[in-house]
Amino acid sequence: MKNLKLIIAREYNSRVRNKSFLIMTVLSPFIFAGLIVLVGYLSTLNRSGVRNIAVLDHSGLFENSFENTSKLEFTFLEALTLEEAKTIGQSGSYYGLLHIPEPTENFNFSNQPIEFFSDETPNVEIIQFLEKNLSNELTNRRLVINGVDLEKIKESKISVDIRLEDFKGEHTSKMSAWIKVIFGGVAGYLLMMFIIIYGNMVMRSVIEEKTNRIIEIIISSVKPYQLMMGKIIGNTLAGITQFAIWVILGGILMAVASSVFGMQLQPDVSANQEAAAMAESQMQTLIYEIMRLPLKTLIVSFFVYFIGGYFLYSSLYAAIGAAVDNEADTQQFMFPIIVPLMLGMYVGFFSLIDNPHGTVSVIFSHIPFTSPIVMLMRIPFGVAWWEILISMLILFLTFAGTVWVAAKIYRVGILMYGKKPTYKEFIKWIKY
């Protein structure tokens, strides 16, 4: 036990005192936040700019149906033929040309369709906007012909907003599903990243001891199993330290950001009460929805699944590290580790959006190699406690199994030099 503590302390210190750990830990939240801001900024850049659309209306029906919006401006071309209009449209000052030919009786355009000309493939949103406007205008005109009073229709219109409520009587909102996907997704993704990053660290640390040739000196004092477990636990603690620092830094960053943006919002409140009230109530629903998530379960499960999933994978990483002489040789063994992680990630995301409690996601949230990721993603949608328990139980039993197998490979592998191992040899080593 005393030796295990010593090994854990050494592993932990050599991780945490490392310069790259400090830089990674402190800088990455800032880099992450910076990236989000940058992406947000870039996408606003992309959207800005008003698009000018030329309209050639030979039917004369649509004079009033195209009002300029913040993104689109319409210019009506008068008394031109289509060919002339096309030349103007191509001259470059227009995004595209909408041509409305003379309709047959009853506003039918089936003989000569309405056309849109443009150099590039037109934006789907714009086309949908145009189609909607055209269809509205034509429908209204037909209604009038058929003797319907448009004013009456306007008067009769009523909008309905369905209020979502679960059977326990608590309100939910349409936002809630997305918040759950985001929370679950982020938790699952974080877990995967931690497993890969810290699993690699365990592997590198094993290889380091092998290439430094210190390994035989160490295992003449401690059991290989102790050394392996010490490494895994030491690195887990380093990972938890990093995560904790990120949570704290993230909290501070959030507080700073919200106070900065909060100040920017101030003038808007006086300028546009209604919008501000809307934003405020949206904010409230957001916070309300987040508070309504099973946060405690989520946090506790995150740690449990982190430890279980991490131990499971890093014991495999340790076995691989022990089997090879240098990092370049690890490539061939990385594939079987990465695949289930990626699979968990994709299955998680797609089944979540579709049906978080569907057969596929239920199965994958019990398979131990994917369960940490998939189950974490499902938890925000509400998973029965016994289901979580079963999945955790399977995970920890498997983890005990892989540690046992990994320890056998590790024990033999660390004393093997100058040979590129194969899977066949792994099996032989396990049998020793």
Partner: protein, 310 residues
């Protein structure tokens, strides 16, 4: 002399490959024991079994009279053939860590380290990283971490390989001093000159089997062939040679001398004593050189290994 370590009928197989086949050795306490054998003979496997790095398939090991226990590793100091240190860890920190793994408290480890660092005059390296040290400097540190927990049994696997001559000599003297202080030492090597110089007892392992063991003096006595190397100054060496050839088995040999003598190896039959030979020779020529041929360990080694090949 009492027995410190006894290996009893130990066998070890790796799959189909037999690394050790029913090997027994006995190491007297306070002695230096040489474990000899060609590469791949099974020396390292035997050492790893004593260190409890590998478990034997069958057979037992007794340490100081008791069956080998887990905590015995704390009184063993092991310098493996494949050795090294954490490159990016500081010298002092690393030595402390390794000493604590051997069961020393932090305080004890510090005291011992201070003693050894002063003794080897390397105290100012405490905060240096191994990668900043030269190879020879790192070797000193390596030796210190092997011995600093005052082990009762020291095991050196090819201790002088990779050490420069100055450090090799330094370490040889340290090993002799540790022996004087009561430690038992096991040496594994195929460098025979160091065996002759240091070891009291040896065991020779070849192809997983022990082929020879015992006290060096006994073994030499066993392997000597009653042969004498002589240098004879005579007016008529050819006649003398003929005469000797009729009486004994002779062989031409060479050694350094001042005169141009007849240099021969003469093997005596069992009923002739060296004195008989000498008195006979005196009547025939001037005897400038008369030495019994004692086989070196190297010769015995080669002889035994090639014999076991057949």
């Amino acid at each position: 002399m009492s027995e410190f370590l006894r290996v009893e009928n130990v066998s070890k197989k790796y799959g189909d490959y037999t690394a050790l086949n029913n090997v027994s050795i006995s190491v007297p306490s306070g002695s230096i024991f040489g474990l000899l054998g060609p590469n791949g003979a099974g020396k390292t496997t035997l050492i790893r079994i004593i260190n409890q790095i590998t478990m034997p398939d069958s057979g037992r090991v007794f340490f100081d009279g008791q069956p080998l226990r887990l905590d015995h590793v704390n009184v063993i100091g092991y310098l493996p053939e494949e050795r090294g240190l954490y490159k990016s860890m500081k010298v002092g920190e690393q030595a402390l860590y390794l000493a604590q793994l051997k069961g020393l408290s932090k305080q004890q480890a510090k005291e011992q380290l201070k003693y050894w660092f002063d003794r080897m005059e390397i105290s100012h390296w405490w905060n240096k990283k191994i990668e900043e040290l030269s190879k020879g400097m790192a070797q000193k540190v390596q030796f210190i971490v092997t011995v600093l927990h005052r082990p009762k049994l020291l095991i050196f696997d090819e201790p002088f390989s990779g050490f420069d001559p100055v450090n090799a000599n330094l370490i040889k003297n340290e090993i002799l001093k540790l022996k004087e202080d009561g430690a038992t030492v096991i040496f594994s090597t195929h460098r025979m000159e160091s065996v002759e110089e240091l070891c009291d007892n040896i065991a020779l392992i070849n192809h997983a089997n022990k082929v020879l063991d015992g006290k060096i003096t006994d073994i030499k006595r066993q392997y000597k062939s009653n042969t004498f190397e002589v240098g004879l100054l005579s007016d008529n060496p050819e006649d003398l040679k003929k005469e000797l050839k009729e009486k004994f088995a002779i062989e031409k040999t060479d050694f350094k001398s001042l005169e141009d003598e007849l240099k021969l190896n003469i093997q005596l039959p069992g009923n002739v004593s060296p004195n008989d030979l000498l008195s006979f020779l005196i009547t025939k020529a001037q005897v400038n050189h008369f030495v019994e041929v004692i086989p070196s360990i190297n010769e015995i080694f080669i002889q035994t290994v090639s014999a076991s090949k057949k």
